[in-house]
Subunit: 137 residues, 2 copies
């Protein structure tokens, strides 16, 4: 059995928050949008419906948890969630805090121009807030 | 308590497939992509995490079911799912069959040009196939 390892592109484009029971939690390094990725730690997954029912429910819970945490730590108008995977096949779920003043509103964040990296201070502040609210040590 | 009614824009842009236990199932009238919408039949919903846990799991099951059904009735490379709601607030979940030759590949379908309506024959064929596979009479 192959062991889970994070896709190189996901690793390169994100900052590590930590692990929930099912998913690795990552912060996309794009200061234009508070944008979390959830990656179920199972090798070879591509589609959500490949998860068994228990893990599908865990994914629903972890997605809802991250959505609520984003609502509590940043100003947002709407949560956008999605699982696309047209470019990076490894299953990953986007949870994005959207605001009427953001760089892509009201369009989708996917395909909306180039990422703008956080400063170290900004990203550390967000990662810390996510860890605290998600009880990840 | 307000009763559920489908948002006028969702009604206008789709064809009715029918009802699963939680969601109204709609086919988006865009022949460029086999594209289903799932709308939980509860008034006032905006975000997935507003559903209680049982309904969140039902939504996860119905989304997985529709994904598998799309895989069985159309040629596809990847399922794209998403809940955005930046323009139409009523909670609706997109389940889209993507193909390497489609009009937006590998970009997202959201914001990708104008819909191309089905012919009556085409849409009826797809709606019938969805009803049969979803056991909706």
């Amino acid at each position: 059995m192959t062991r889970f390892s994070l896709h190189a592109r996901l690793e390169r484009d994100t900052l590590l928050v930590g692990d929930l029971p099912l998913c690795r939690v990552l912060l996309l390094n794009d200061s234009r949008f508070p944008w979390v990725l959830l990656v179920p730690r199972q090798a070879g997954l591509v589609e959500i419906h490949e998860l068994n029912a228990a893990d599908r429910y865990r994914l629903a819970d972890e997605t809802a948890l991250v959505s609520r945490v984003l609502q509590s730590i940043v100003q947002l108008q709407k949560i956008n969630t999605g699982a696309l995977g047209n470019m990076v096949q490894q299953l990953h779920i986007h949870v994005v805090a959207r605001h009427t003043g953001d760089a892509a509103w009201p369009g989708p964040v996917w395909g909306a121009g180039a990422a703008v990296a956080y400063s170290d201070t900004e990203s550390q502040r967000l990662v810390d807030a996510l860890r605290t609210q998600l009880s990840i040590s």
